[in-house]
């Protein structure tokens, strides 16, 4: 991938979008660093390489919309709330944790944002929420992030069937990073996600772009139609997971990893970057360092009552 193109991706961004992308990137990197130091209990799943998806979607959603996230949800959370303190405190079990440290990395509820750790489980729930919204708050929608691996779960099809039957305001965002834990998508998914979605009469959109504005412009009218009663929308992003599934469990070859890194939106080590990028990158890195230092110094969390 030519470096020029990568620069194009970041240089066309607004400060706001670039700042959010960098916040997520440095947050995830710091998390792996803390994990390496033995400071993170249990497990965690980073979204390195996929940050642009929730950043692109963020302004298309409003406060009345529900967002359902999954195990790989730090980017989804940060794009919605820009709250690295609450998220890191949750992951580290410190005071100020969004859910008192009970939920941890993959079980977070904040307002109309909910993540849970079972594949596919959120889709019937999101369908029920969309049903309630259709009747009680017309114009609002439920959006659920899933992965390519999630399409192996029966719950996905039960939910799509009902959402299409009842023309519900549901958006299913698939981050297809080509690998389900260690299993390549080609070894676990027959046919295509698009064909599966269309089989239920759902509208479908596929994005290979990593350009935030391009994605946003493409999605905006589709999301609006969902709000207006056009029924469920399934979106697939061809994306790339740079890091391991969780920690230290990457079985991909050097060649496969190189391929993933070639699709990173973040400039390669040593590549020339603009002054703006360098400044904002340093700011985001500094913010995350400060967040980590502050949160680690906090007392352990207690349940919220």
């Amino acid at each position: 991938m030519p470096q020029r193109l990568l620069e194009g991706i970041t240089e066309s961004l607004s400060d706001d979008d670039l700042g959010l992308l960098l916040l997520i990137r440095h947050f995830e990197r710091k998390l792996l660093d803390l994990f390496g130091q033995g400071l993170v209990q249990g497990t965690t799943h980073t979204c390195l390489g996929q940050e642009y998806v929730p950043v692109a979607l963020a302004p298309l959603l409003d406060e009345r919309d529900y967002v359902f996230s999954n195990h790989r949800g730090h980017g989804h959370y940060l794009a919605r709330f820009r709250d690295p303190y609450g998220l890191l405190a949750e992951i580290l079990g410190r005071e100020g944790a969004v859910c008192g440290g009970v939920g941890g990395s993959q079980h977070i509820l904040s307002g109309r944002y909910l993540s849970t750790g079972i594949q596919g489980e959120s889709l019937p729930v999101a369908t029920g929420v969309a049903l309630r919204l259709r009747d009680a708050e017309p114009g609002a929608l439920a959006l659920a992030y899933i992965g390519d691996g999630t399409w192996g779960e029966g719950a996905v099809y039960e939910a799509l069937n009902m959402a299409a039957l009842w023309r519900l305001p549901l958006v299913v965002v698939t981050e297809n990073n080509g690998i389900a834990q260690t299993t390549p998508t080609s070894a676990q998914l027959a046919g295509t996600i698009g064909d599966r979605a269309r089989a239920f009469g759902c509208r479908f959109a596929h994005f290979t772009s990593r350009h935030v504005d391009e994605i946003r412009d493409g999605l905006r009218p589709l999301v609006e139609r969902t709000r207006e009663g056009a029924g469920p929308l399934v979106v697939e992003f061809a994306t790339h997971r740079l890091g391991p599934h969780s920690k230290g469990d990457d079985t991909r070859s050097a060649e496969e990893l190189r391929h993933a890194h070639e699709h990173d939106w973040y400039p390669r080590e040593g590549a020339p970057v603009s002054d703006r990028f360098a400044r904002m990158d340093a700011e985001a890195r500094g913010l995350v360092e400060a967040v980590a230092g502050e949160v680690l110094a906090r007392p352990l969390s207690g349940r919220l009552g």
Partner: protein, 339 residues
Amino acid sequence: MRTMRVAESLNQALHQVLDGDASVRVLGEDVLDPYGGAFKITKGLSSRFPGQVLATPISENGIVGVAGGLALAGGKAIVEIMFSDFVTLAFDQIVNFAAKSVSMYGRPVRLPLVVRCPSGGGRGYGPTHSQSLQKHFIGVPGLAVYEVSPFDDHHELFGEMLARGEPCLLFEDKILYTRQVFAGGVAGDLFRYDTLPATPETGQVTRVYLDDPEQADCVIIAPGGMTHRALAAMRTLLLEQEITCLLLVPRRLYPFDVAPLAPLLERAGAVVVAEESTAGGTWGAEVAQQVHSRLWGRLRRPVSLVHSAASVIPSAAHLERDVLVQDTAIVRAVQELLS
């Protein structure tokens, strides 16, 4: 008071629930009129409350998930699982979503959700349409397990479950559907009944007794679906052997703390727990463990567990009868305890 069958009483209760609260949705397979559900418990609801009743595809896991979503977003939901055997398909949504969500986010989250489960055998429906699966849902934090009894005010029962704010399973014995509800404190020609007030730990418990609940030779603890078999056993024991029993029917099977019942159990000194579940890992074993912990050395014999055999439930009537718990098994258990 006009007597009615338990099925009619449940149906009437659902009418009252939907009439009283526009945020309640009833959903399930084939619940619309004119069919009104496989056991007619939802009859008339869709005609009277068309916006509140939803017929679904055959997708138990999905349906319970949708109900969880309705509850999460500020509504209330009552799901009908056509046969409780199919609730295994919704195990993930019940155990890993609904029951978890009420507490795993570090603070209480309200999820007013009831999953109705028509259960039990005796109708010849065979191994996959006759089970009593209550035991598989006992001991799940954030999940309450209830069972319909003929003594209950079923409208109040639904109110209690929806007010609980956490998911509830309601087991409804399919033979009990066909029986009359009891009223006026009289259970048949021999026995009287009253209720012990609910506590948060124990829930409401109905006492059925001859003259004096404190003068029984043996206590039988049984869920509502066992009521008529327990009454038949009590009748036989009384008329043939002058043994008096006290029957305790808890409205809620889990959480269920036996503490408030301990004085009654200790006075009798003999306790049977009867349920239709097949053998192994039963609700009764959970209850017995609690009784033993409290009353060790103060009972004549260990608590006797009465349940169905360790077997699939056959279709043919004669084979089914051999497997399912009968009143005679309760009679035998009481006799052995007192011998």
